[in-house]
Amino acid sequence: MLYAVLCYNSEDSVFSWSKQEEEAVMGKLIAAQEKMAKAGRLGPVARLMPTTAATTLRKDREPAVVIDGPFAETKEQLLGFYVVDCENLEEALEFARDLGHANPGGSYEIRPLLQFRPGTLAR
């Protein structure tokens, strides 16, 4: 089963990291993914720019309205995601726990995928 691991954290806090903190956390996160990556079970991994870079298209009206900023103002923001192939929820949680040890604070939402197309991005 494919799962998305959606990463929520306070962007105020994450984007205040010093370069050293940033490198330390990123290094640990890479290490935490290694097992799944080597097994060929780690799909796309994305890190998002801060919500200040976001634009939202409200399409619940006609014509749709473009709004600066994220879809919702939340205490913790969606800052990135992983797609992993896991046997079951328990294993997906295990993967998320490993990530959590590398990068404490915030939450991971584990959400099974209904459909997945890997796309053709070549980089």
Binding site: D12, S16, S18, E21, P50, D68, G69
Partner: protein
């Protein structure tokens, strides 16, 4: 990160919102800061034990307010303090209450806190020092190091700034739209001052002062989070990101200046550039270009060029033209002249800067540009005079050394 590092990061990022809300409660900067300090002490005791609260800022506001009120009571009646646990185990209901109390004020609170620091009676250096102390929460020692002054001198500077503000009227009423936009402009200017304090550092000072750039970007992002649809704030953050992206390439190992066209562009920070470009993209949709956005757009054209030859100088010339209209200044015209020299040659550029001579007679960069144009035209004697003048006006050793390298090249040609 371990527990303490995580808590430290959470306290730092919660600080602007918490201190600014406490300022609204206590109407006094010293009390607000003290209440925040006390709340932080309680957080250091409670968070490792109980786990981090869901909303650190709301927690700190509630606890800070209670501690502040208790302090006032204690001074008044000498009543015993409640035990720590009753404060640190805030119920969800209470936190929600704090949320509701503060959410509506949140934007104006932080804007007020930043705005207090740009009080017109405060000289620029005091504005910056105060913002770094009060809003960013840097220690006096950290700020002193960044300004290359002693800790006691910085302590004095901040105390003096606070004393002035205490005497001034702090605007606590909710601002109307014109006041809000005026405050926003002043705050943006102050944040860019903080940035330039770091950006103007050279060579050996750089490691000490670069954190000022990072702090300014952090404050800029904070402001943009609060005012998501202000194209000038997008422009300000983009401008700072695009300039700071080049920091690793701006000086050689001896601390000498490396000009934009000679920089190793692979050392530019791609993530910062990408974010800067994304913000400009968003801001352009508003079709209300302001000075920050135009300057960011100019920086973006440099950032987009993989090689110096790829630089879109005609477009940069046009953008400087726009900037001249928005913010007429001889310095802007001088910068435009550099673009003009690339598009129409040094003669046209020289004709453009001659009328600026009176205004810029004390400006290092004017004589540097003038010398370079004369040099390109082969008027070496005049170039030498201009370069000598530039060296005399240089603000630091790195600038002087840079001009001296031009003179050396002239020497070799003769």
């Amino acid at each position: 990160m371990n527990d303490i590092a995580w808590i430290d990061a959470a306290l730092t990022s919660a600080r602007p919102r918490a201190v600014s809300a406490l300022l609204r409660y206590f109407r006094n900067l010293d009390n607000a800061e003290e209440a925040f300090q006390n709340a932080c002490l309680k957080a250091l005791a409670a968070w490792p034990r109980n786990g981090p609260p869901r909303d650190p800022a709301a927690w700190l506001i509630m606890v800070g307010r209670n501690v502040g009120i208790d302090d006032a009571r204690r001074t008044a009646k000498q009543q015993p303090l409640p035990d720590d646990d009753s404060l640190s185990d805030l119920g969800d209901a209470e936190t929600t209450l704090a949320d509701r109390l503060d959410e509506s004020h949140y934007r104006d609170d932080i804007l007020r806190l930043l705005f207090i620091c740009c009080h017109p009676e405060l000289p620029a250096t005091q504005q910056i020092a105060l913002a770094l102390r009060v809003v960013s929460g840097l220690t006096v020692a950290q700020i002193a190091r960044a300004f290359l002054v002693s800790e006691s001198a910085m302590e004095q500077r901040i105390t003096r700034a606070k004393a002035r503000i205490a005497k001034a009227d702090v605007p606590f009423e909710t601002p109307g739209a014109p006041e809000r936009s005026e405050r926003l402009g002043a705050v943006a200017g102050m944040i860019y001052l903080v940035f330039n304090e770091g950006y103007s550092a050279t060579g050996g000072e750089l490691p000490l002062r670069a954190p000022l750039c990072e702090e300014a970007i952090r404050l800029g992002r904070l402001l943009l989070r609060l005012f998501q649809n202000e194209p000038e704030i997008m422009g300000l953050v983009a401008l700072m990101l695009l300039q700071h992206a080049r920091s690793a390439a701006r000086f050689d190992t001896d601390g000498a200046i490396i000009l934009l066209e000679d920089q190793d562009r692979t050392r530019w920070d791609r993530a910062m550039i990408a974010e800067g470009l994304a913000l400009i993209d968003k801001a352009m949709r508003h079709r209300r270009p302001g000075p920050y956005l135009v300057q960011a757009a100019i920086a973006a054209l440099h950032a987009r060029a993989a090689q110096p030859e790829d630089t879109d100088w005609p477009q940069i010339d046009l953008l400087y033209g726009t900037l001249e209209r928005l913010m007429p200044s001889p310095v802007v015209t001088l910068n435009r002249a550099v673009a003009v020299s690339k598009v129409n040659g040094p003669e046209a550029a020289l004709a453009m800067i001659e009328p600026l001579a009176a205004d810029l007679s004390g400006y290092f960069y004017f004589f540097g540009v003038k010398g370079a144009m004369l040099q390109q035209l082969g008027r070496n004697e005049e170039a030498r005079v201009a370069f000598d003048r530039a060296i005399a006006l240089a603000n630091n050793a790195a600038e002087a050394a840079h001009i001296r390298s031009h003179l050396d090249r002239l020497q070799k040609k003769v």
